[in-house]
Symmetry: C2
Subunit: 197 residues, 2 copies
């Protein structure tokens, strides 16, 4: 569930300090949620704190890590090396959470980009082979809107099961494929909607 990574991030610094235990109230405050919600979330994982005391920091950290499957490094590929794609390639946050962008794909792999790229860049014709060879299950899509559905079809075809899409279009995928949309303009729209004076 989407709040777990937040809890994990709040827990990390405490883990390094010698903090043994934390109450739901304190952690909830740090994470910006209600204590009861935090407890419900953790209870759902079968996590057990100690009544009258709180949760063991290290133990809790470990349990959430397990639940998220973040113990192993999860491979991802990125399709579309425009401005946004390039920025995401060098975004440190992904690896901090246990993801590794193995490679990038673009229709113009050799195009001059004014920045040194730290990952291999392939043409779209090599997609299928790469995905199968590395059993890639997740992809980040940052191609132009017109190209997005085509790319997604290819990915699905190759066996990719999770797609994080940044193109501002409604995409269609089979039921067994999970599609997660990030639409930057819509995020701004939401703000805008709530602050009109």
């Amino acid at each position: 569930m989407y709040r777990l990574s937040t809890y994990l991030r709040c827990l990390a610094p405490l883990c390094e300090q010698a903090t043994q235990t934390i109450s739901s109230e304190a952690l909830a405050k740090a994470a910006g949620v209600k204590p009861t919600q935090l407890r419900k979330d953790l209870a759902y994982l079968g996590t057990f704190g100690t009544r009258g005391l709180g949760y063991d920091v290290k133990d809790l950290y470990q349990q959430i890590t397990n639940e998220l499957g973040a113990s192993r490094l999860r491979p991802v590929i990125l399709i579309g090396l425009g401005n946004l794609g390039l920025a995401l390639l060098s975004y440190r946050g992904f690896e901090k959470e246990g993801f590794e962008i193995l490679a990038a794909f673009d229709i113009e792999p050799g195009r001059r980009r004014n920045k040194e790229i730290k990952r291999p860049v392939y043409g779209m014709n090599q997609l299928a082979e790469f995905v199968r060879a590395h059993s890639v299950k997740m992809a980040i899509v940052t191609v132009p809107a017109e190209a997005a559905q085509g790319v997604v079809n290819q990915l699905v075809e190759c066996g990719v099961l999770g797609i994080l899409n940044f193109s501002p279009v409604v995409l269609h995928v089979p039921k067994n494929v999970m599609l997660n949309n990030v639409n930057l303009a819509i995020e701004l729209e939401n703000l805008s909607y709530f602050i009109r004076e």
Copy 2:
């Protein structure tokens, strides 16, 4: 509400074609939602379609545009010119939805960035003045995690009411300020969580 911009995007191409009218079923399919949900959403806006026929495309487009307040160009500023900040600066999607990034701010405004920037870049000391002078109400924050809360405090201080935050930290703002978080790692995390075999 967050689905309205999707409807708008689906409607736009129909508007240009001479399509007079569209049924909730057709539009819902294009937008990837259930027809009943679409109708509820539109009914909530007080929009009226014609029974037996559908909705008038142009009229609907206009009503949603009004509701979103997208008729005027809404000014935004961007704080933090790292990789992601730069990418967002040249992201065309914002202006397509009626937002204009007026300027960018950074602690090192003069830093060499290997890309031509089309907006003025100022130092943080000029933030307050600029925000007041242009009555900016929205800001996009793409600074490093450590700096985020400080920057947000400054923004709130200056009177900014809506903040779109990309830093992976839990930020605290007064109740009258709307904070919208985009955490790229969490989006991937969600995918990952649902596709484990």
